[in-house]
Symmetry: C2
Subunit: 460 residues, 2 copies
Amino acid sequence: MTDLSTVLARADSNLSSSLERLFDLVRIPSISTDPAYKAECRRAAEWLVAALTELGFDASVRDTPGHPMVVAHHAAGRADAPHVLFYGHYDVQPVDPLELWESDPFDPKIKDLGNGRKVVTGRGTSDDKGQLLTFVEACRAYKEVHGALPVTITILFEGEEESGSPSLKPFLEANRDELKAEYALVCDTSMWDGETPAIAATLRGLVGEELTITAADRDLHSGLFGGAAANPIHILAEILAGLRDETGRVTLDGFYDGVEETPENIKASWATLGRDATSFLGEVGLSEPSGEKGRSVLELTWARPTCEVNGIWGGYTGEGFKTVIAAKASAKVSFRLVGTQDPASIRESFRAYVRSKLPADCRVDFHEHGASPAIQLAFDSPVLTKAKSALSEEWPKPAVVVGMGGSIPIVGDFQTYLGMDSLLVGYGLIDDRIHSPNEKYDLTSFHKGIRSWIRILDAL
Amino acid sequence: MTDLSTVLARADSNLSSSLERLFDLVRIPSISTDPAYKAECRRAAEWLVAALTELGFDASVRDTPGHPMVVAHHAAGRADAPHVLFYGHYDVQPVDPLELWESDPFDPKIKDLGNGRKVVTGRGTSDDKGQLLTFVEACRAYKEVHGALPVTITILFEGEEESGSPSLKPFLEANRDELKAEYALVCDTSMWDGETPAIAATLRGLVGEELTITAADRDLHSGLFGGAAANPIHILAEILAGLRDETGRVTLDGFYDGVEETPENIKASWATLGRDATSFLGEVGLSEPSGEKGRSVLELTWARPTCEVNGIWGGYTGEGFKTVIAAKASAKVSFRLVGTQDPASIRESFRAYVRSKLPADCRVDFHEHGASPAIQLAFDSPVLTKAKSALSEEWPKPAVVVGMGGSIPIVGDFQTYLGMDSLLVGYGLIDDRIHSPNEKYDLTSFHKGIRSWIRILDAL
């Protein structure tokens, strides 16, 4: 028996006690958004500190203006081992409407779905108590077998993830040196499907802009002025229409600087996932991919930058008709970024483009709505490669490296405050009903999740 | 002394009694929109019937569900004389805020402006009691000198023009045979300036459309779907931007069918009016003509068709930012028509164009917002030519044939219900403050207005 298989066997034999610990943690109703559960949140933090201390971590409850953080440290057995930060959150969503729950959300049960699947029911079983415990229990099995951990680990458990994380940024900033590691492991995402583990390696960035075009100094009668006076809605429509060319590419100068083609092997693995335009767009009543031509919907949403108009308004928008030429027209526009696209340059290029299309007697005002760069683990980075192999060993199908079209704040915060990439691995399933009544976590997710972390820690 | 100069001299010598009659009519507070003045409206109608009867008209007060109409008939002295319908309105706007009036709005006075201009003050002096009486007093002078009128005249005075004319269409329809004439003379417009009379010969028509583009069956998260799912705002922006080409011409198939070039002599006369892009657009904070290139602002607003977006909305339009791809986006679009452009064909062409630009998996819904053809007296029609010469004889500067960018409902109604063109001649000035406190009518407008009608009647 190899070292690794010994640890995995230990995780298997630990499973029922691991589940008991999960039940214990789920029984604490740590609803962060409801002040009535403030003490319960602290109790969950204390429970975690106790569990980590028992494993040999130097763990403590750390106060914030809101719910406390849990921070824990454990050095690796070898001095040259890497150092990772593991992140999860112990707070949960409210449970209303309570009458829709088939059993008490804070009295977890094992339920046999009858199709070979057993699940643990209860609020937080999947999001995120079950998930974070997969990592803790992996550490436990490792420690029990080897008396040491293969990597140096800092743990950060947050208690405000479900209520907007108000304390997170200040806490990261104030504890930068203590929390800094080589990279973060985040366990708050899903598998691709029940047999295929997923690592989210790319998160698109965002530039938000609002623009208002002003033409005349007042609303005009379209009979008296129509045909002679500039109409800001026309100007805006032309500007917006000109943002993409007939192939769907964004036309801004320098927009694709920093955008790299997705490696062929990654695209090939995405092609095996069965999510094509028909299945992806069919769910929302569409069938034809928009945007850049000749690319799959997964590539378009995970690996390509976009320009989208998120809102537009101007002139008369009520019932009936008014023959007005408006003085102003406005739009909100966002750009999703990938690779190393620079948000500031893109904002500048957008504004220069708008000004270049503006008649000399009209005006434009811009309003900034945030900017964040894309986050992208290099597809060939060692940590990604190792984690992918480790996961592929554990599950029936090989792990897939996926992208996420939107941003996950914690990943950006780790990047911003700690200068650290994140590896997002999670064992949730699409049907876990997180945030809804009857949340559950598959026993397989929990068990093979623990085994997966053991393999990943071993590989790192 | 010619026949004409005798009649003009009679109008001059009648002037003080003509003014007394104007004062009498202005003293009747015939505010049509306020039910408290219902009896006063009837009194004004009766006053007019008495005045016309005195001149030999067969005149009567005609009841409607609202305020009464005045209808009067007088045959010409010669059997082969043309037959015209003269239109005016005896109702007036409310007078509030009363405290801003320098003198009682219903106690007219002659006021010397000190710059050689004398004016009659009071509500309705210009709009439209003073204007309609120029015609009645012209008839009086003619009748007094010749014992007969040079043309057969039907008069229609309305009492609901300032309150939406609810009874007008049914009245025209019910009395079609009685009211039908060769053409209408309408006295409710302005001079070009104090020295230059104007005849409005063209009124643009209108087609109003509302369209809603629907893409997905719900609002989508722009992170998850951006780049792959159709965005109805983009589609709408492209459709609207494509409605005009780079020369400002409307791109719809067949749009310019029925549009004729304005005769060079008319364009030349417009060029002398001093209303260029700088003066016209400068008043509203603009300087560059929009729309078709290479045409003057007067041509653009009087003699060319347009496409204007009057309103647009879609997606998130509130404070801040929401990364949404909207399910729907809408716009209100209008086309101003000239010549013989057909509203129904243009609506159809617009809809076909929109459908041709629509992705196969998206939908468009149209909502109709009215249609009216343009009204255009042929620039070389005899009545226009005669009226123009007659006016040019009377005033310091030659009469100018102008267009009106918007529609005047009465003109369309005469066209629709009586199949009759209208000649719009009026002696109001831009500074008459109609609808506002301290409305006035220049003594010159009244006096030379009477003389102008004498000349026009004589010429016809």
